[in-house]
Amino acid sequence: MSGRVLVGVKRVIDYAVKIRVKPDNTGVVTDGVKHSMNPFCEIAVEEAVKLKEKKLIKEVVAVSCGPQQSQETIRTALAMGADRGIHVDVSGKDYENLGPLQVSKILAALAKQEDAQLILLGKQAIDDDCNQTGQMTAALLDWPQGTFASEVSLEGDKINLVREIDGGLEHIKINTPAVITADLRLNTPRYATLPNIMKAKKKKIVTVKPADLGVDVTSRLEVLKVEEPPQRQAGRV
């Protein structure tokens, strides 16, 4: 077993920002808007770093798909304790149309290339709320999946997982290699400390293109219109 974990981190609009729809209704305003790491991805990074600290895995590799600015998100993961980063460079129209299907193809290709034992992702991104990337990645790799994980423990070459489902908590045991997606209560992400932020500068981030991985990022979906939700009407007491 390589002892290597791939963690996917997505750069999204910060949760505290008030979202505005672009006047041409093609999307939301992203220019000049504060972005940060998807909160569920932070939880995934924290879990990976914890596993490394317990010496259950050897290396944490942070992956992000997007334009140049995605490297900031990878840098945050490095400051939290990831060892190195892979930036899959997708920009322009390709980036606007990037969705779970293309990302899962990219992650599957990277998992094979890096000989990953585990892929840790957030359960969903707070911008599109798709909740699909983890599941699709597992299917493409034909790996077991543990989604909505609120507890993860490694036992030899198996993983004990507690999943948060509508009916309560589900306990499952899956083989490795596997894909796990993190739910809210899995852990509390650490604050990146100053010394770690400064050490992160020296860690390596490698940039690759989807074509290098043999992945075609053309989208099968077309966004027709984006509009604001209807204004709240007054209620009756």
Partner: protein, 436 residues
């Protein structure tokens, strides 16, 4: 018909109105032309939160440090401050938490410290003081007034012994310079350090007051006059015989920070505890300049909190059917706040960069400490006024900043003393004393 088309033309071409009026007015005045060659890029959106794009002037590392620490301050410090201030409780744990974050003594290289830039130190101070000036005082004392002198003026043994523990927040330090009878004139201090050649110790006698952290500090960097009349620094440790650190009661400022005295009645201090690499007032002043720089940034953090809080309050509060923010008096106050904060931050950034390049002089630091504190106190008072009655309730936090900034404006050199420092630099004439 003709009248209506004339009116239509005026409405369609408003900037032609002036021409038409001018030509109507006897034709003697020159026609008004509008110079449209100067264009501001209208795609750039003005951001009242960051009026002069400070963000764009920071490095990626500085942004990450700021963001990470801001999250800690808002999530872990903000929830505690209301009761800490109300009940005058100093949460000693926060020093250890900040130690874990690595923000204590951040500019020191080695000894378990982060070794980051002075700009990053300023950003850190701003984030803590956004929560409370008392918390930032505790941090400034630890970093600039205890760790810095040991690092700059101490022996290698002293550095190894104290710095890593101070960096982790395992031990807490305080800085003893000010005395009951000597505040602005530290040179007149009455604390004496007598050398005893037989025991190779110094005997310290005297009292210091207004010492942040002293009631709960583990060590104290105390400045005393030696036999040769020169001021030197000594590291005192809790438990030394004759050393007392009573708390000062009845404080209405910096209540979340512990403040007290350092009373020394013939305290025997081994000569290994002398800071050997400095003598004279240059020693304490070097430390104070370090702290004053952090305060220059920090005070603006408090001002920003007050500005943002007043803005939100006046947007939410409806009187006479409209939000308070609709009123001109409110908007003028906010415009003044926005301007001072934006300009202040720019000056602090430039100062930080100069310090990092070793091109800064003490007068620069005096100028900005004075400016930031004076302006922040003003902003806090205005904001308090904008909140009306609610402004005096600690749940709205602004009154706490008003109280705190009174002390911040005074300590580390009063507003007036810094004016004299600048006055001397401007004129070459000192006006501290009545002599020549």
């Amino acid at each position: 018909m003709a009248l209506r088309s004339a009116v239509c033309r005026l409405l369609v071409n408003p900037h032609r109105c002036a021409l038409i009026t001018a030509s109507r007015a006897q034709g003697t005045a020159a026609p008004i032309t509008h110079d449209l060659s100067f264009k501001v890029d209208t795609k750039v959106q003005f951001d009242w939160r960051d009026a002069l794009d400070l963000e764009g002037q920071l490095t990626e590392e500085e942004i990450m440090i700021r963001d990470s620490f801001r999250t800690y301050c808002q999530e872990k410090l903000m929830p505690r401050i209301l009761m800490a201030n109300r009940n005058e409780v100093f949460h000693r744990e926060i020093v250890s938490e900040m130690g874990e974050m690595g923000v204590l003594g951040p500019t020191i290289k080695g000894y378990g410290c982060a070794g980051t830039s002075y700009v990053a130190y300023g950003l850190i101070a701003r984030e803590v003081e956004r929560v409370d000036s008392g918390y930032r005082s505790a941090m400034s004392v630890q970093s600039s007034l205890v760790m810095h002198p040991i690092n700059a003026y101490g022996t290698e043994e002293q550095k190894q012994k104290y710095l890593p523990k101070l960096a982790r927040g395992e031990i807490l330090g305080c800085f003893g310079l000010t005395e009951p009878n000597h505040g602005s004139d530290p040179g007149g201090m009455e604390t004496r350090a007598k050398y005893n050649p037989s025991s190779r110790t110094y005997t310290l006698t005297g009292s210091k007051t207004w010492i942040t952290n002293s009631p709960v500090a583990d060590i104290a960097v105390v400045w005393a006059k030696c036999d040769d009349g020169k001021v030197r620094g000594f590291i005192l440790e809790r438990g030394m015989k004759g050393l007392l650190t009573p708390k000062i009661e009845g404080k209405f400022s910096l209540r979340a920070s512990a403040t007290g005295m350092i009373l020394m009645d013939e305290v025997e201090v081994p000569e290994e505890n002398l800071l050997p690499k400095v003598s004279g007032l240059g020693g304490p002043f070097g430390c104070l300049n370090n702290a004053r720089y952090g305060i220059a940034w920090g005070a603006l953090g408090a001002a920003e909190f007050c500005f943002h809080a007043a803005r939100q309050y006046t947007l939410d509060r409806i009187q006479f059917g409209v939000p308070l923010a609709r009123n001109q008096l409110m908007q003028k106050k906010m415009a003044d706040m926005l301007t001072e904060i934006a300009i202040g931050l720019q000056s602090c950034l430039q100062l930080g960069r100069l310090i990092d390049e070793k091109k800064a002089s003490p007068e620069m630091i005096s100028m900005l400490k004075r400016n930031s504190c004076g302006k922040a106190l003003d902003i806090a008072r205005q904001a308090r006024d904008m909140l009306g009655g609610n402004g005096i309730a600690d749940e709205y936090h602004i009154i706490r900043h008003v109280m705190n900034l009174e002390a911040v404006n005074t300590y580390e050199g009063t507003h007036d003393i810094h004016a004299l420092i600048l006055g001397r630099a401007i004129t070459g004439l000192q006006s501290f004393t009545v002599g020549k």
